[in-house]
């Protein structure tokens, strides 16, 4: 898939450098810690769900936003994580904290396995492959219903999900802080990754596959492992989902969930890892309000938001906030913002190396010669 270069930054951290951004991060962090002690346990539960969806959106930001591989099937990894926790906790008596590495590992392996055929597919073909995965997941769950509970589902006993004694927290608050901790850890890991050599390769592949090959990047390795890590993130979110909701069923992971994750990531900002937090909040709270008006309003708003954002603000809410902060910062300090923060610029060239493209059309799903294993 070739992604146009317009209005796209890799500003991995929009909150870096400027004191205003640091201040905003501080306020947000404080709020994140204080809120569960102020709000009702139901709202705390909702916030936990928002954090979990933020993790799912982060997995999309990494794979689709940063690496350029379209992901329409992450609901399946989310579901696999969810069932891993459900089955291990309910049927095998595991502590739910211990199920998370298992869910992550399973999803990593499945992600790499799906990432391998994905290497040869791009654009719409990859979208259809991943969509098929999302479509098949509930059917697999139904097929093995003696194991999974099928569409009637599987309830996890509440006492198995209690907060550990040492935490001194209520169950809801513990789940909230667990989700918060996991999100923060994954954000830091992703930020570190993207700032380093491999991160430059991940984004480089999105920007220009041919140039990526010529600097020596082995596309199959980087793409499949990125796919695996992204799947593992989604899987961990799924584990937390089960911990928080204590119920799984095949109907809880429909195709729409996968599409919603992608939409959440786009709305929050595909090219900014912190956009996923906004994406998570949108995915949890928007349906709460729209659903009460009409059952189909959510889908309508998602669809409309998707189109409008892609047309008007491809960087999503994160880019909008970044711009606003820059504006305020300029007013306050009277200085121009650092050039490194610029996210909007004229494309270098609409076709990176058009006259020498290895394969011509975008509709051709074949990867460039160099990306297939020797």
């Amino acid at each position: 898939m070739r992604i146009s270069l317009r209005e796209r930054g890799t500003s991995v951290s929009p909150f870096a450098t400027s004191p205003l951004r640091t201040a905003m991060m501080g306020v947000l962090a404080l709020a994140a810690v204080v809120l569960p002690f102020v709000l009702s346990s139901f709202v705390t539960f909702q916030l936990s769900m928002a954090l979990i969806y933020a993790i799912a959106a982060l997995s999309i930001v990494l794979l689709t936003g940063m690496n350029g591989q379209i992901a329409l099937g992450h609901g399946a990894f989310f579901g696999l994580g969810a069932y891993t926790t459900a089955i291990l906790v309910q049927n095998h008596g595991w502590h739910f904290l211990l199920t998370m590495p298992v869910g992550a590992l399973l999803c990593f392996v499945l992600g790499v396995l799906i990432g391998i055929p994905a290497l040869r597919l791009r654009g719409a073909y990859l979208a259809v492959l991943t969509l098929s995965v999302a479509f098949l997941f509930p059917l697999v769950i139904k097929r093995f219903n003696d194991f999974t509970g099928g569409s009637s589902g599987m309830t996890i006993s509440q006492d198995l999900l209690d907060a550990p004694e040492w935490s001194g927290l209520s169950r809801d608050r513990f789940h909230y802080f667990l989700a918060l901790l996991v999100l923060m850890v994954l954000l830091v890991l992703t930020r570190n990754l993207l700032r380093g050599r491999t991160g430059r390769a991940i984004v480089g592949i999105r920007d220009n596959e041919i140039a990526a090959i010529t600097v020596g990047i082995h596309l199959p390795t980087v793409k499949t492992i990125t796919f695996g890590i992204s799947a593992a993130f989604a899987g961990v979110a799924g584990c937390l989902y089960t911990v928080t909701i204590a119920f799984v069923s095949s109907d809880a992971f429909p195709v729409q969930m996968s599409i919603n994750f992608l939409i959440g990531a786009v709305v929050g900002g595909l090219y900014n890892i912190y956009g996923s937090i906004i994406g998570g909040l949108v995915l949890e709270f928007l349906p709460q309000y729209s659903q009460s008006l009409s059952p189909s309003l959510t889908a309508f708003v998602y669809g409309a938001a998707l189109i409008v954002i892609l047309l008007v603000m491809p960087g999503g809410a994160a880019a909008l906030i970044g711009k606003a902060l820059d504006g305020v910062g300029r007013l306050v300090s009277g200085r121009r913002p650092g050039s490194g923060e610029s996210t909007v610029a004229v494309p270098v060239s609409s076709e990176p190396i058009s006259s020498e493209s290895i394969r011509s059309g975008d509709d051709d799903p074949v990867a460039p010669a160099g990306s297939s294993p020797p």
Binding site: L121, V128, L136, I263, S296, T298, I307
Partner: protein
Amino acid sequence: MTYFLQQVVDGVSTGVIYALLGLAMVLIFRATGIINFAQGELATIAAFFAWQLNLWGLPIWLAIAATAVIGFGAGAAIERVVIRPVANKDHFTLIMVTLGLFMITNAVTGLVWGYTIQAFPDPFPVAAWTVHGVSLSLASVGTIVIVCVVGFLLYQLFHRTRLGLGMRAAISNPESARLSGIDVGRMQMIGWGLAAMVGTLAGALAAPKLFLEPNMMLGVLTYAFAAVIVGGLDSPLGAVVGGLAIGVTENLAGAYLYDFVGNDLKIAVPLALVFGILLVRPQGLFGRRAVARA
């Protein structure tokens, strides 16, 4: 043997629906180079519309015909309003926009007609023949005939008419097509309009089998995708063969691999096959390979 033939025949009559929706996708792909994720939902809303007209007293065939005509206008309007502004964007944006269209269409269908399952009147009279122990319903035969006719017409359109040639020029090189006097925008509008018409047929013929509800085409969409991918995105023949192959494989898997795949997973078999094929022949079975180096 009779059992086997019966399974194949049943598979074909499911497959033609995939083929029909696949044909609509091929049309849009040839007109605009876009894979339309909203195709299934557009077919669903068309089926609801036809159902509504029928409820208001129009005979079902007339209702379908009227919907097809209105669908043409609606398809062209969607191209104009939603697709045209993003036509020059990258593939990711295009996919996402059709996904947005998918969600909006689905929501509008639900908003207007609700989520109660409706019975769609069968446009074909109930009748069946038995040939060598294999039963053939009139509906199946009729649907097959319609798909063949539509496929044939599209083939003629692409290869024998100025419009089809213009479409081909418009997608392969919009700039020089424009310079040689082809109205690219009009080609694309007509493409979307025609696709909506074909989609209307797909929706109306699928609805009696699937039960009419806003999400009815979601499965069909996935299989139709698989059909056009295996057949080649630009090939009407490929869409038909692909659709039939998927229908038959699905049915045979359900019949002979039941113990293993069960009723829920039988569709996984053709999907797995499709992606297997795609790994070997990325351009599909009938698609032309894009020529390297422009």
